[in-house]
Structure formats: C-alpha cells, structure tokens
C-alpha cells in the first residue's frame, strides 16, 4: 500500500497526480476463506480490518451486493458521540470514541474526525433531570460531559435562539466536548484501503442469496455472481437487510426496518461550529466543512425498505430546526435522502452468535450506527476470531430478548441519534 503523506502529495504533483496507485484491488473470490463478512459498509469493513490487524486473520472476504460504503455509511449525518446512559452501551460507544481519536493515523487515511462537541438540548424540567442523570452516569464511566445552562449554550452557539420567547425555550443541555463529526465516506474508504493492504479480499457486486449450512452450522454463502464461497465463519453486517439474511439461515431477529432520512442545505458561510441535537423538538443539525447544513430527522413510524422518507417527517424536522435557528429561515434545502435502519426494541445493537453455529450477526444499530463504526468492527472482529462474544459484545446478544436483560437506551440516550 502506498503510504499517504504530505511528501507523497508533493511528489505526485510533479507527475500531475496521474500515477496514484489504485486504492484497493478488485479480486476474484477464492473458493474458501477463514471468515466471510457479508456487507461492505463501514461496520463490515472495520470488522475485516480489525480481524486482519488485531487477530492476524487475513484470509477474509467482504462480500457486498452493491459498492463499498454505499448504504447507510453514505447516508448518515456523521455525528460521533459516546454519551449513552447505561454502562453496557456507554462502554461500547466509548470504546469506539477512543478508536476514533487515533483513526486517521491508524488507517493512514484522513477521516476528518473533528471533535467539535455535541450539545443535547433540554427544553423541559424532565429533560433537564434526565440530562443531569445521564451526564453523571457518563462521568462515572469516564466519559466527558457537562451540564450547561441556557446562557452558556448561547455563548457556545450564538446563532441559536436561546431566549425565553420560543415555543419550547432551551433550558440547558448536556455537552460532550470530545464528540463531533467525521467524514462518513472516508471512514468506509479508509477501512477498505487498510483492510485490502492487509490481504482482505473486497468483493463488490456480489449478492448473497443464501447462507449455506451443514448440520446446523454455517459453512459458507451462496452468491448470485460467484456461486458458493466457503468459510469457517460467517459474519453478517447488513443493517436494514439483516432480517432477510436471518430468514435465509432459518431464524428470526427482533428487528424492524424503517426509513430514516436526512437533508442538507445549500452551502453557506461558517455559522455553526458544533453539533446541536434536540430530543424534545426532535431535530439535529451540524455544518459540514463544505458549508452545507446537515439536518437529521426521525424515522418513519412504519416498516419500509424504500430508501426514501416521508414528507411529514421532513416537515416536523425542519419546523424543529427553524424553532431553534430562526436565522436559517431563508436557507434553501439542497438534497434529501433516506436510508434503511434496523431498529431493535431496546434501541441497542445485536452483536451476537445465532442459533446457527459459526454464523454471527452484527446488526440492529438502528439510527445511531455510524458513531460506533470503529468499536463495532473491533468487538465484532474479536467475536468472529474467538467464535464467541467478546467482553464488550456479551450484553448485546440476540438472546437478551428471551431472558429479558434488555438495555433500554430508548430515550435514555436521546432518541435523536
């Protein structure tokens, strides 16, 4: 792998940037791998990278029916934070946060991780009680957090209306300074490039149509383009389509797929240098380096696989943003899109063994998977390498829905992800 550096940029400029190496190979699949990862999004590619890097398992293939990072990795609002309430999820997301902090160096790829801080606003007394509880829980778990009042928020975000004259006045917020945003596509590409350099085969345009099993154990996948590819272990990281794959393997997952949408405005001059989220009025907003405002909405209430959202949801979101930022009233929206999120009943992911031996699932990240990408890949790689759930993954077993040990992050961590 050609190492990226300032010097490299300079030398390539001498040949008019025409001789850059391809970022990854485009290999034909082998007959058999140690591990096959189904799904070439951020989580799947991160899993492949950590399998190769941490566990020395390099005979790995990532099979992707479309192109790398073309699903929810390309569709999210890029927010990264770790201020979750419950210990299990706080540990998992904080693990991801620590990996984020060194990710660009680790991958030799600029993922543009910008720790510009995240505000989670409170508009009611109960919001403020929840925020104080969550910040205290975070600090006990070693996660940075502060409770700010309206005046402090106003100093931090001058463009926001923190006065008492709004319909739902801002009373305070939780503030996580280490949180921020990252360039979503770069995360997928960086992991893909680094995994490829370690020998992982990235196989695009290869759709899995069945999980091949023998005596109740997975032995490979059946693909539309390349027939059967064998593997000792199979890991599925396919977000919205997890239920479809689980059905192929003959079991059910407690997941429902919903459209989640986001929108961006036309680019404007820098006006917002942090991330503002509000659970109560339900909207979240940040400004990208390009200058466009990135706005997120809630999920549509019904199940859906169409990658588009409904207009009432956009309307509610824009209303919420307008309430907070009257200054944006004349900004025109540029694009709007939807992704399919696989939501769990307790709003926590599933990183788990399944009723089928040697088949593992990493899914159910719902509306907040992007922030966990490095951590998710790291713990799922450990799970695949050991053949059983790693320590951080253990509470996220799919069997928690049978024994009742749910991790109820609904609302606790802020519905707005």
């Amino acid at each position: 792998m050609e190492k990226y550096s300032g010097f490299g940029l300079f030398t390539h400029s001498l040949s008019c940037h025409e001789n850059w190496q391809r970022v990854w190979r485009n290999p034909q699949p082998k007959k058999k791998y140690d591990v096959i990862i189904v799904g070439g999004g951020g989580h799947g590619l991160a899993t492949a990278y950590y399998l190769a890097k941490v566990h020395n398992i390099t005979n790995v293939a990532v099979v992707e029916k479309g192109y790398l990072g073309g699903g929810n990795t390309a569709r999210n609002t890029t927010i990264v934070r770790s201020n979750y309430l419950w210990d299990e999820s706080a540990h998992l997301y904080e693990h991801a946060m620590k990996l984020w902090e060194g990710l660009s160096q680790d991958l030799n790829y600029n993922v543009m991780f910008s720790q510009r801080g995240v505000l989670n606003l409170g508009h009611t007394l109960q919001d403020m009680r929840d925020i104080e509880r969550r910040v205290n829980a975070n600090r006990l778990n070693g996660i940075d957090g502060e409770v700010l009042d309206a005046k402090q928020i106003q100093e931090l975000v001058p463009a926001m209306d923190c006065s008492a004259n709004t319909r739902y006045p801002v009373m305070g917020a939780s503030w996580q300074p280490r949180a921020g945003v990252a360039r979503h596509d770069a995360v997928a590409w960086g992991y893909a490039r680094a995994a490829d350099a370690l020998g992982v085969d990235l196989i695009q345009q290869c759709e899995v149509v069945d999980i091949v099993t023998e005596d109740g154990a997975a032995v490979g996948v059946e693909t539309k383009q390349y027939g059967t590819i064998k593997a000792d272990r199979v890991g599925c990281v396919v977000a919205g389509n997890s239920g479809v794959l689980a059905k192929m393997a003959g079991f059910r997952l407690p997941l429902e797929s919903h459209p989640l949408q986001a929108l961006v405005s036309e680019p404007i001059k820098p006006v917002l240098d942090t991330v503002v989220m509000s659970n109560h009025v339900h909207g979240y907003i940040s400004q990208s380096d390009k200058g466009d405002l990135v706005i997120g909405a809630g999920i549509d209430g019904y199940n859906g696989y169409g990658q588009r959202g409904s207009y009432p949801t956009i309307e509610h979101t824009v209303q919420a943003i307008m309430e907070l930022f009257p200054i944006f009233s004349r900004v025109r929206m540029n694009r709007q899109w939807g992704g399919i999120v696989d939501t769990c009943p307790d709003a926590c992911p599933i990183i788990s063994a399944t009723p089928v031996e040697n088949l593992f699932f990493n899914c159910g990240w719902g509306t907040g998977g992007f922030k966990a990408t490095p951590g998710s890949g790291h713990v799922f790689a450990a799970t695949l390498a050991q053949g059983e759930a790693s320590k951080l993954a253990k509470p996220f077993s799919m069997f928690r829905f049978y024994d009742g040990s749910l991790i109820d992050e609904h609302g606790a961590a802020g519905v707005a992800h």
């Binding site: 199940n303 009943p345 049978y402």
Partner: protein, 98 residues
C-alpha cells in the same frame, strides 16, 4: 405521503392523521402462565420484517381513534388493501414464513 382509507370513517385521509402500530395478527398467548421464555420473547419482541407484503395494524390517531389493518408493500409502499380488525386479509404473500 400516504393517502389512507379509514374503514371506520369511510374516508381517505392524509398520513399524518394515522399512526403505524406494527405487525398485525399477533395473538396473545392463550395460557400465559405456561409460556416459556422463548415464547414470551417471540410474542413481545420478534416481528415479521418482510421485504414485500406486510400486514400492519394502524390507528386513526387524530381521527376516530380506532384500529384497523393495512396490507402494504414495504418496498413500493403501495397500500394493497384496508380491512377491519377481526377480518382476514385478501391479499397475501405466496411466500411462507415471511
């Protein structure tokens, strides 16, 4: 935007008046005391999540506040039929155990 026919109001209304309440036709266990953990887990948390035809329970939340069922395609979002609670759907998927 859905334009949904409420079988109780006998009128088409906009999506915003309704609320989706998930999968339809989930029977409550007849003998709850003797259910295993697996059976309770399945009943409470495990839902069909088909890519295609789905029978769903909806409520006319800011209208008549009554529940009814919809058969809808989860890919095209086309509403195939609307029927009352207690009735059977006439449009069904040929695929088993979806």
């Amino acid at each position: 935007m859905f334009h949904i026919y409420c079988p109780h109001c006998e009128d088409h209304r906009e999506e915003e008046e309704f609320h989706a309440s998930g999968e339809a036709h989930i029977p409550r266990p007849l003998d709850p005391q003797s259910c295993s953990d697996e059976e309770w887990g399945e009943y409470l948390y495990f839902r069909k999540n088909p890519r295609g035809l789905h029978h769903e329970l909806w409520v006319h939340a800011v209208g008549c506040r009554k529940f009814f069922n919809i058969t809808r395609d989860t890919v095209t979002y086309e509403i195939k039929e609307v029927y009352k609670v207690g009735e059977k759907p006439s449009v069904t998927s040929s695929e088993k155990n979806q």
